[in-house]
Symmetry: C2
């Protein structure tokens, strides 16, 4: 995507029309606990309450809606550690399209089970030794299937952006304007789409992205002015955020709109999962909790601000969840 | 309360005015998972997202607003296993009133800690051997404090009813009329207030209450036509619902409005807590999950119906929560 082909507010609004009545319009929640904790007016966009338990359904359904009749007949293939897998699988089921998902062998059990539950076929690979891109491409070549990437595609980005569009619209309904918006970053599809919608409707709202420590490819890429990779592809509790590098198509959007990128440790992230369980009564997976983690860890002084945090997903296995709720308070 | 003094829709609406901007207007959530599971249109009213993590804040704040200046100065005293305690403690803090809470020694740690955190003083008692009523009365006599009961008071009932009022109003906003409303029963304050509002605005909506097995005092009372007691006062995982008998004032309201009362086992309740964690991404305490438990256990055939389930609270210790999420699927 060249600069003049970046998605626009109107593109996100068109995606919202496609998703109407299919995706859940997740609520905008005012959190008194967090507002007191951070001395700010804090709102949450809980995409863990979205279909498949993560925002990913938005982009996947929007993308699959745009396939031709012939493409639909040949099915789709996608690689994903879990949330995109579930999003594609459910969207395909709704639209009566056959889906094959290439999934790492260490993907959370819940994400694998749900993907199967939506009727998709799963092909496993080893995250350390095999290339998911090559495996996926081979399947696409063999079957003539369309490859549905998790963050590079225009329609995926605009679909994810509907979450940000809703944030601003729901704020307007209650007379709230946001000073800042905080959002997890994996490949950047969610934050790119959300930023497009938010900046289109509320240009003064600052956009902050959050990455796990050791997987701060976007932070370094923005600093360098070019796409940088992570040296590792595993080893964070945030399985949902372990992309190798910023997307070719999401990077220019992030360059255009992001104010800054913050990083959080695994311990800070697990504490945020615990906080969400204890104080917010929401089930949030580690990767979905990094924005909350950054603010609880004091990465930004938000006193007096009106802010929105996006919680991007809630698909977490019992083992990791228990690790979180048994962790010591930081 | 004699029949002609039962609270009315207008009384609940007046309570809603007092709570405006203080209590959280919890969202009405459409659950696709549950709708598919039950072959119905299923909506949730998640009062676990209310301040203090339970609906109890509504009634407590409404009651405390109605105290005279002199009464406020002498403070309030209440007995509660936890959620009412937190509701009274926070409402008292907001209104700058001193609160003393009489709490069983086996109350969940989280509820005790939060009650202390809101600045209330806690007096412990033994649920098996001591009378909370006597202890509370003695404190009220000594200090001249107003005793804030958890379900007998008119303003408590109408305050809790604001949750039901919101259900109908939020349904109207999206063009939904409910065939049935499912709600947990302890002493009956919540369901009495909610039924008052719901029947006032939507007379055809059927109201169902849910009690833990072995604590089915309301079910038996309705069958007998007079208030019956439970033989035990402990021994259910639903610490929030262990009242001794229906309220003197809530019983006639429940007689007037309830279609039927269902009961659920501890195992069914813990499975509902797990389901809420796994599929709904909500943290619900056992007592708050009994309506969900009844429907998941197939107590009612709701196929084709449009229904709302109230999840009444989310204050659960890590130990019980882990017991739930590790339980076998039923």
């Amino acid at each position: 995507m060249s600069e003049n082909k970046l998605p626009t507010l109107q593109d996100v609004q068109a995606a919202a029309e496609r998703l109407r009545g299919v995706a859940i319009k997740t609520p905008l929640l005012h959190s008194v606990s967090l507002s007191e904790e951070l001395s700010a007016q804090v709102f949450l966009k809980p995409e863990n309450l979205q279909r498949v338990g993560a925002f990913k359904f938005r982009g996947a359904y929007n993308r699959l809606c745009r396939l031709t009749v012939g493409e639909k007949a040949r099915g789709v293939v996608a690689f994903s550690s879990g949330n995109h897998a579930q999003g594609v699988a459910l969207a395909a089921k709704i639209l009566d399209i056959k889906a094959t998902i290439v999934m790492p062998s260490d993907a959370p059990e819940m994400k694998r089970d749900n993907t199967l539950g939506y009727g998709a076929e799963i092909v496993e690979y080893d995250r350390e030794t095999e290339s998911r891109e090559e495996i996926t491409q081979a399947i696409a070549d063999e079957k003539g299937s369309v490859m549905v990437t998790s963050f590079e595609d225009f329609d995926i980005i605009t679909g994810q952006g509907t979450a940000g569009l809703e944030v601003i619209e729901q704020g307007q309904e209650i007379g709230v304007t946001f000073d800042q918006f905080y959002c997890p970053i994996g490949g950047g599809g969610l934050i790119s789409g959300c930023a497009t919608a938010i900046k289109g409707l509320s240009p003064d709202t600052e956009i902050y992205g959050i990455e796990p420590e050791g997987f701060d490819d976007v932070k370094r890429s923005l600093a360098m002015g070019s796409r940088q990779s992570n040296s590792q592809q595993a080893g964070s509790v945030c399985d949902a955020l372990l992309s190798i590098a910023p997307g070719i198509n999401t990077f220019p959007i992030m360059q255009k709109y992001l104010k800054s990128v913050l990083t959080v440790s695994d311990d800070e992230t697990l504490f945020a999962v615990k906080y969400a369980w204890d104080k917010l009564k929401l089930v949030v997976e580690p990767g979905g909790a990094v924005a909350l983690a950054a603010l609880l860890a004091g990465r930004m002084d938000v006193r007096g601000k009106t802010i929105c945090l996006l919680l991007s997903g809630g698909n977490v296995d019992a083992e990791i969840f228990q690790l979180a709720i048994n962790s010591e308070n930081l």
